[in-house]
Symmetry: C2
Subunit: 187 residues, 2 copies
């Protein structure tokens, strides 16, 4: 079941470096792309950083709306993730091609994609110089969600392979999030 | 054996989202800290982004030298990684405490830490506004290295658990990089 994640723990949704889907919407258009280049940027308020190329159709929707959703997909969605990363929303409706089901987000217009493990609703900090120079977008996380079996008590849980996060190596090859390992040193 | 990585492939060393060690040196001081919040920023020239808190001893060394090394540690180093992330170089010599062996880097003063899987030598792009506002450092990768058995033909290889990369979940808990998974969709 999808449950709200305490914003103080939202950075942990991306802390392990998963590839994410970036979902955007503006006026009557919406799009989804994949992004391995994302990371948390702060705890409170939670912030994120993500790279969105100038050529991406999503870029225009994100700049126009000032918002996006980052969704953490799982191994069961691998083919969709690779395809939405390699195709353009200018040419096709990716939601229709992959029969992507969505739910309304709480605070932004971009929707939440069903079947993912977690979702971060984000509102951009306007930083035109670094957006233009580095294709880098910084944003505040204004709402966060996770499947309660995947992320519990502020921590990701070990899961069967189809429900593990994806870590992109390049060219459609991924590592899945592997086994849990705990340090003997105080964390 | 440590071999040079083609700079055109250097972004792939961080593409899967591993926790890294940030190594810094200035004048007669050096330090090492852990950073889960890192990501590639561009392919050519390769660029990276990493968050370095204002309270970190490393921050002063990095700002003074304009350089750092990102090293990708493995599961065998988990206790050292957690401890250098939780202690300060103001109080202790972390290299001495953990008997960390180093080799000279090629283009920067900060050293390469032995036992890691890969290393990126980085030179900062001066962006004082975002360094100050977001604790965010952007840098060009000027040299890159990897163990030849870990990263081959521009791609990470599956490895036994002690040689897998670490993905920090919080509080000293990690996922290791898991099994390889390939999409049926053209990558």
């Amino acid at each position: 079941m999808r449950v709200a994640v305490d914003l103080a723990k939202a950075s942990r949704l991306l802390n392990h470096g998963p590839t994410v889907l970036v979902v955007s919407a503006h006026a009557n258009q919406r799009n989804v792309m994949a992004a391995a280049w994302n990371m948390p940027l702060d705890f409170a308020p939670p912030k994120v950083a993500v790279v969105i190329d100038k050529t991406a159709f999503s870029r225009g929707l994100i700049e126009a709306s000032g918002e996006f959703v980052l969704a953490v997909p799982c191994a069961a969605q691998i083919d969709m993730v690779v395809d939405v990363g390699n195709s353009s929303g200018r040419d096709i409706d990716k939601f229709a091609r992959w029969h992507i089901a969505t739910e309304a987000a709480e605070k932004v217009a971009a929707p939440l994609i069903q079947g993912c493990l977690a979702w971060l609703e984000c509102r951009i900090y306007p930083e035109p110089h670094i957006q233009q120079t580095y294709d880098l977008f910084l944003a505040e996380v204004v709402a966060a969600w996770a499947e309660d079996w995947a992320f519990k008590d502020g921590r990701w849980q070990e899961a069967p392979e189809p429900q593990r996060a994806l870590h992109h190596l390049g060219g459609g090859n991924f590592f899945t999030s592997g086994g849990l390992l705990q340090s003997k040193v105080e964390g």
